[in-house]
Amino acid sequence: MTEQYYLSSSPHMHSGATTDKVMRDVIYALLPACLTAVWFFGLAALTTLLLCVASCLVAEAACLKLQGRAQSTLADGSAVLTGLLLALNLPAAAPWWLTVLGGAVAIVIGKQVYGGLGYNPFNPALVARVVLLISFPIQMTSWTAPLASASGVDAVTMATPLGEWKTAVMLTSKLPAVQPADYLNYLTGNMAGCLGEVSAVAVLIGAAYLFWRRIITWHIPLTFVVTVAVLTGIFWLVDPTRYPDPLLHVLTGGLLLGAFFMATDMVTSPVSSTGMIIFGFGCGLITVLIRLFGGYPEGVSFAILLMNAATPLIDRYTPPRKFGAVGEVVR
């Protein structure tokens, strides 16, 4: 017996997919949103993006070092992805320390304390965003007007559409008027808001890429968006002067970014298709509740975090119906 072969359990073939490739695909899908952010908010957006990614990478490296684990997982792209997602959830005017702190919170508290990639129960970027939002509400809601640098004016602040409506309804019980032209702005992203959530088009282009690469399935994003549209639609039909129409709800705020990129985070969402639909519905329901009745103008982040918390239970009670379970109840 001179030869020594590999022995392994079947299968002996592999699709070639790797975690790195999955992460890379999501990063590519985020590029349109990043580019539009830089287009609308200029250098500030670019700085925030880079700083956030760098902060996440440093935090990840430090955590791995402290645990004495191999630095190889640094290259899997998950830290870069978390950084990008967090940056896209920050206002352009976010001070540098906020960005750096956010990156560190996302990686350390959001991910590494649970054992790193694949084990975090909550979406790390959203954990960081919510921590920042609650800890530094002023900085997190100081929005710059888009294209401010292009018009030569420095840092004009303005409110997000959702914020504007919420304030108006609270003060006057009436919505401000929406011009038809505004819809176009909401679609392209010419409005105030977080870096990544402003441009619906850019997010949708990225989402299309994810669908094409089969990184995500329709279950979560579609149920999420449809739930929001239907529920807000009902309220709008009841009282259009108080409640914005569903299209505005879908196009503004972080709904699309959240539905396609945050709620679909594999690690923190259910694995079965039934579970995903429940998850998407829950996200939509809570988003609408918070947007219409809550103290915060935007509820996507909280909604996804809450459903993240429910994911283990959803997984537990919605296993797929096994093949051959004929007339048999599967628990």
């Binding site: 909550f122 509740l289 918070i290 103290g295 918390a309 994911t311 283990p312 239970l313």
Partner: protein, 193 residues
């Protein structure tokens, strides 16, 4: 009617006893390792909460207040709760020995569960009517159970994670409870409670 629903919603989500008021943390951390146990604990606490609210409401308005001995409130309430917990303990031991074992020391400890006393006292403080009080109690109990079950689900999952040595056990559970509470902050301002 709307008022009642709002009280219910507020007690479940907005002012969740565990995650927003930080009451009843002891069983929340103690018996949330398994979903089944968490459900059992939630039910036990729910029962004690609801009955205790009813009894203490009557005691408050028919004995303590008429006799002008409200300074005895705490001690009387505790007495009622303790008796109820004893009762629940006996029933569970008889009906479900497995649950009795897994709840262990945390079952008698419901007596000192500040969520129960807190509920009874808040109920009086807020000057709720009897019906409102019951809704408040049901909401609080549901909120407690919800928090317990969500948290137990998360902990079951974390049990399978290679958590760094220094964070294992209670530390990671605390971090998770914090994050869960953070997520519940989203409901803030929804209902004035």
């Amino acid at each position: 009617m709307t008022e009642l629903v709002l009280i219910l919603i507020s007690a479940i989500f907005v002012n969740n006893f565990v995650l927003a008021r930080f009451l009843g943390i002891c069983p929340f951390m103690g018996v949330s390792k398994k979903v089944e146990t968490a459900v059992g604990m939630g039910m036990a606490v729910a029962f004690v909460m609801t009955v205790a609210t009813v009894v203490t409401w009557f005691l408050q308005y028919f004995i303590l207040q008429p006799l002008d001995i409200e300074y005895l409130q705490t001690i009387v309430f505790i007495l009622v709760i303790a008796a109820l917990v004893q009762l629940v303990e006996m029933v569970i031991q008889k009906v479900s020995p497995v649950l009795y074992q897994s709840l262990g020391i945390f079952l008698p400890l419901i007596t000192t569960n500040c969520a129960v006393l807190g509920l009874a006292v808040l109920n009086i403080q807020k000057e709720y009517t009897f019906l409102e009080g019951i809704f408040f109690a049901i909401g609080a109990a549901a909120g407690f159970t919800l928090a317990m079950v969500l948290f137990a689900g998360l902990r079951e999952r974390i049990d399978l994670c290679p958590v760094p040595r220094s964070f294992r056990g209670t530390a990671i559970a605390m971090v998770t409870a914090g994050l869960l509470s953070l997520a519940f902050m989203g409901f803030a301002g929804m209902v004035k409670g």
